[in-house]
Symmetry: C2
Subunit: 271 residues, 2 copies
C-alpha cells in the first residue's frame, strides 16, 4: 500500500485514555486529520493477557486501516507493550507506540538517579519499558510498579482529595526511597492524576508523560517520509469511533481530550 | 429441549465475582455438577452498556447450553439487570438471575425503614433492583447508589484498611442519614468488602448478600421441576471456563470461591 500524505492518522486505545495522546497530536500537528477508535466494549486492556490484548489490537488496527490511514498510533501503553511487534509485522503503514518515545524522553530527563515506571499490570508485567530504557542506556537503574487502581480512579474522576492521595502513597512510597529522579507515567490515564502523583514523589522527581514525546515522534516520522499533511486554512476533520454506546465516551472523553467531542459513532466490531 | 436431572447447572459471570454465587450454590446443593464460565476477556460488565452486556450474556449462555446444562444461573448483577428478559425468552432451560432473590431477601429483612441498594453503574442505572423491590412491596422506600470503585478494590484485594474505608465512606454516608435499615450488596464482588461496608453503615443496617438467596431459589426451582440431581456418595464435578488466560482466575478466584480452583480451561469465544 502506498501511503498518501492526505490520509488521516489512525489512533486506537482500549477506551478514552488514548485521548490524552490524541490531544498532544492535535497540538503538535494541527493540519492532520485523525481517526480515533476506542474499544469501549472490551475496556480495560491493562488487566488482560498479552495474548488477548494482541488479538484486540490487530482487529482495531484492521478497522482503521480499512479507512485509509497513513500511519497508526497505538495510544495505549498496554497495547503498545503487548502488540507492537505483531502490528508492525502485519500492517502496511508505519506503526508507533507510546513506550519507546516515553522511554527516550525519560532517558533525556534523568540525572543518573534512576528511572521509575508506573503502569497497568499488563504493561509492567510485559517488561516493555524496562527493555526500552535499557536499550537506550544499558546501565540505567529501572524500578517498575503496577498501579491498577489509578485507571478506575481517573475514569471516575477521583483525581484529587484523600482517596487518590492515599492510593498514590501506597503505590509510590518506594520510589522516593530508591532515589529515582524521573518517573514515567506509563499509562495514558495517569496524567489526570499528575497532581497527587507529584505530591507523593516530591519535587525532586520529574514526571514524564509519553503523550508529547509520542506526538513528536509522529511528527518526525511523517516529516522523514514526506507524509505530512499539506497546510490548510480550514481545520482538519477528527472522527471518533467506539465499540460500545458513545454517550459516556463523549462525556468523559472531553476531560481527557481537553475539548468537546461533538459525536462518536458506535461500530459493531466482534472479536 | 427436555431437561435431565443429571445435567449440570450452568453459571456465568463477567469474571470471578460470580464465584461467590457458585460458592453458595455448592453449599446449598452439594450433589449438583456445575459448569462456570467467566468472560475474563471482556470483564468488567458493570461499566458497559446494557446493549453490549446483553450481547455478551447471550453468547455466554449459548456456550453453556451446548454443554447440556439443565438450568442457567446469571451470577452477575449487571448481566441479570440487563439481559434476564432476553435470556429467558431465548433459552430452552430455566434461567435465574441474582436480582429477584436478593430483592426478596431484602424485603423479608427490612423493618420498614427503607432498603438501600449498591451496585455497578450498569446495575443501578437499569433500575432492576428498584423495580424488583417495588414489585414485592409497592410502598417500600428504595435508595440506590452506584459504587464503581468497589469492584477494582475487591479484585486487587484491597478489602481492609484506610483506602476501602475512605471509599466506602464517600459512597455510603448518605444511607445512614436516610434511615435505611437494610442494604443489598447488589454486585457479586461486594461481599469481599463486607467488613468496611458494615463499619461505615453501622450495626443498625442489615447487609443482604444475594448469593445465598439465589442458591435457595435455585434449590426451590430444581425441586419443583423434579430436576434435583440424585444423591451420590461421590463428589460431583465442577468445571471452570474462562475467555482469557486462566492463571489470574485460578489464583484470585480461590479467594472468591473459598476453596482452591484446580484448573480452568481457556475457550476462544469471539463476540
Amino acid at each position: 500500500m502506498r501511503q498518501d500524505s492526505h490520509g488521516p492518522i489512525g489512533v486506537f486505545d482500549s477506551g478514552i485514555g488514548g485521548l490524552t495522546v490524541l490531544k498532544a497530536l492535535m497540538a503538535r500537528l494541527p493540519h492532520e486529520r485523525t481517526l480515533y477508535l476506542g474499544d469501549t466494549a472490551r475496556v480495560p486492556y491493562g488487566t488482560k493477557s498479552s495474548e488477548v490484548v494482541t488479538r484486540y489490537s490487530l482487529k482495531n488496527a484492521e478497522f482503521l486501516l480499512e479507512r485509509g490511514i497513513k500511519l497508526l498510533v497505538v495510544a495505549c501503553n498496554t497495547a503498545s507493550a503487548a502488540a507492537l511487534p505483531a502490528l508492525s509485522a502485519t500492517l502496511p503503514v508505519p506503526v508507533l507506540g507510546v513506550i519507546e518515545p516515553g522511554a527516550r524522553a525519560a532517558l533525556k530527563r534523568t540525572r543518573g538517579g534512576g528511572v521509575g515506571v508506573i503502569g497497568t499490570p499488563g504493561t509492567i508485567r510485559s517488561g516493555a519499558y524496562q527493555r526500552a530504557l535499557e536499550a537506550g542506556q544499558p546501565h540505567v537503574s529501572v524500578k517498575a510498579k503496577a498501579c491498577p487502581l489509578f485507571v478506575p480512579l481517573a475514569e471516575e474522576g477521583w483525581t484529587t482529595g484523600d482517596v487518590p492521595l492515599l492510593v498514590a502513597r501506597e503505590y509510590l512510597a518506594g520510589f522516593a526511597r530508591d532515589g529515582v529522579d524521573t518517573l514515567v507515567l506509563g499509562c495514558t490515564h495517569y496524567p489526570l492524576l499528575k497532581g497527587v502523583i507529584a505530591e507523593v514523589v516530591g519535587p525532586g522527581v520529574s514526571l514524564v508523560d509519553s503523550a508529547e514525546a509520542t506526538a513528536e515522534a509522529v511528527a518526525e516520522l511523517l516529516g522523514a517520509r514526506g507524509l505530512l499533511a499539506p497546510e490548510s486554512s480550514t481545520a482538519p476533520e477528527h472522527a471518533y469511533f467506539v465499540t460500545d454506546v458513545p454517550e459516556r465516551f463523549v462525556e468523559v472523553g472531553a476531560r481527557f481530550l481537553g475539548r468537546p467531542i461533538p459525536s462518536a459513532e458506535q461500530v459493531d466490531l466482534r472479536f
